[in-house]
């Protein structure tokens, strides 16, 4: 019976998660039930049982998932519905206030960099590095999605009114702060002005990439709502939903289009870098979907391919059919290369695992 790799904490967490996922208990209930199993298991261990045995008996005494769900749902239905208003109000305040604070801070940052370094290479270096760091951190923060939602749920359940006051104070702070900010920096136009003022292709491109990253993070948040696992590239990209693929394709196209900010005159290099973006996107889809990936690739990239071709055709200058074809080829070859490489890499990873 003694199992060497039994982890009490993890087992309790898993057990409570099963009940939690039925939706009738709040996070506070989950904490309380976990504490109960801990106490019970501890007492049983003191009587000489192994941790695993103690855990099994403690959960058996706690009651089945069905019984607990039923009993809790009698009490919690109205409680949970009442919280909906608190979530809506907190959500509105936070989604308005936090981006406003971040964007204003970024605008002020641009402003000072521009004041100090103008369009020098120092400015380019600082702002470009900032963009890259910012991008990396928003993707990294996505990993903490669950901790953030747990934190908010806890605050709403335990400190509803104080938490809402904090949220609304943030909102008030933003309204007041905006007025003060515009008075202090009359020339400050949020985000739009400084990027062009620096007159640097690096700043411009990384700026677009950052904005697209934010869009990507929002899309990832929306499409991971139904997934119970921790959010990773795998959970996001494995067996993706059609709508997700459409959004993914669109973001890829925008990112590829942003590479035009480099203003490369050489046709070959321009299309190469365009195709490269598609390559990376195709790679990430195929890598996590070894089977039936053609369907996914079609869904993601066919609409934007047509969009891009349509756009190019309209913008086509007379007698430039050559660049039109090379552009189409860049996308198709890019996707094919991404697919080919993903297959190779996935096989290699599987062989060493």
């Amino acid at each position: 019976m003694e199992s060497t790799n039994f982890n009490l904490e993890q087992s309790i967490h898993d057990y409570i998660s099963v009940i939690s996922n039925r939706g009738s208990i709040t996070s506070a209930d989950a904490t309380e039930l976990s504490a109960h199993i801990f106490d019970a298991a501890e007492a049983l261990s003191r009587q000489g049982l192994s941790e695993e045995e103690a855990f099994i008996i403690a959960t058996k005494r706690l009651g089945t998932e069905e019984v607990l769900t039923e009993e809790y749902s009698k009490v919690n239905t109205s409680v949970k519905t009442n919280y909906v208003w608190a979530y809506l109000m907190a959500g509105f305040s936070l989604f308005y206030a936090l981006p406003a604070i971040v964007f204003s801070a970024v605008a002020v940052f641009y402003f000072f960099i521009y004041q100090t370094y103008q369009t020098s290479s120092s400015a380019v270096f600082i702002v470009t590095s900032f963009h890259i760091l910012f991008m990396a951190s928003v993707w990294y923060l996505l990993k903490f999605k669950r901790s953030v939602s747990y934190f908010i749920e806890r605050q709403i359940e335990r400190n509803t009114i104080p938490f809402l006051i904090v949220c609304f104070s943030l909102l008030g702070f933003v309204f007041v702060g905006k007025g003060v900010l515009y008075k202090a920096f009359p020339g400050l136009s949020v985000l739009y002005f400084p990027v062009y003022a620096f007159d640097s292709r690096w700043i411009e491109f990384t700026f677009y990439a950052t904005v697209l990253s934010l869009l990507g993070v929002v899309v990832s948040l929306v499409f991971s709502v139904n997934k119970l696992e921790v959010l990773t590239p795998r959970t996001l990209l494995e067996k993706p939903a059609t709508l997700f693929l459409l959004a993914f394709g669109l973001i890829t196209e925008f990112l590829a289009a942003s590479t035009r900010t480099f203003h490369i005159n050489e046709l070959l290099y321009r299309d190469l870098i365009f195709g490269l973006v598609y390559s990376i996107a195709a790679f990430s889809i195929v890598y996590y979907n070894r089977a039936s990936n053609s369907k996914y690739l079609m869904t993601a990239f066919l609409p934007v391919f047509l969009l891009e071709m349509g756009g190019s055709y309209i913008l086509l200058e007379k007698g430039d059919g050559y660049s039109f074809v090379s552009h189409a080829l860049a996308i198709i070859l890019g996707i094919a290369a991404g697919r080919f490489l993903a297959g190779k890499v996935a096989r290699y990873v599987a062989s060493i695992a």
Binding site: A28, D29, T31, E32, L33, S34, A35, H36, F38, D39, A40, R61, L62, G63, T64, V67, L68, E71, Y72, K74, V75, N76, V79, R158
Partner: protein, 113 residues
């Protein structure tokens, strides 16, 4: 079964504040281990009692660092306990009186119900 736990919980909390696991242990001890109830169902009962204002919950950190919710009897809960106590006693007396009445001899009572 679960709802009949309420007066018992009030009685336990009358002496001192306590948390779920401890309350269950005390109930078990007092009934000589005969209490047959899924332990987890106590918590929804506590929650309902808290919503009614009979008890008050408070999160406290135990020595182990884990959080426990401690419940204490409120004034309203004290009054509720008094009310329920006298009501239960009243019903108890009534049951005893009816139980001790001489059984009818006219027919077999078990077949008339």
């Amino acid at each position: 079964m679960a709802s009949s736990l309420a007066p018992l919980v009030l009685l336990i909390l009358r002496r001192q504040e306590s948390y779920g696991y401890q309350i269950i242990q005390e109930l078990k001890e007092k009934t000589g281990g005969e209490l047959q109830v899924a332990e987890g169902t106590l918590y929804p009962v506590l929650k309902k009692m808290e919503a009614k204002g009979w008890i008050e919950g408070d999160w406290k950190k135990a020595d182990s660092g884990r959080e426990r919710r401690y419940y204490a009897l409120t004034d309203k809960g004290g009054q509720e306990l008094d009310a329920q106590f006298s009501q239960l006693n009243y019903i108890n007396d009534l049951i005893h009186k009816l139980w001790n009445l001489p059984t009818s001899t006219s027919s077999n009572p078990s077949t008339t119900i």
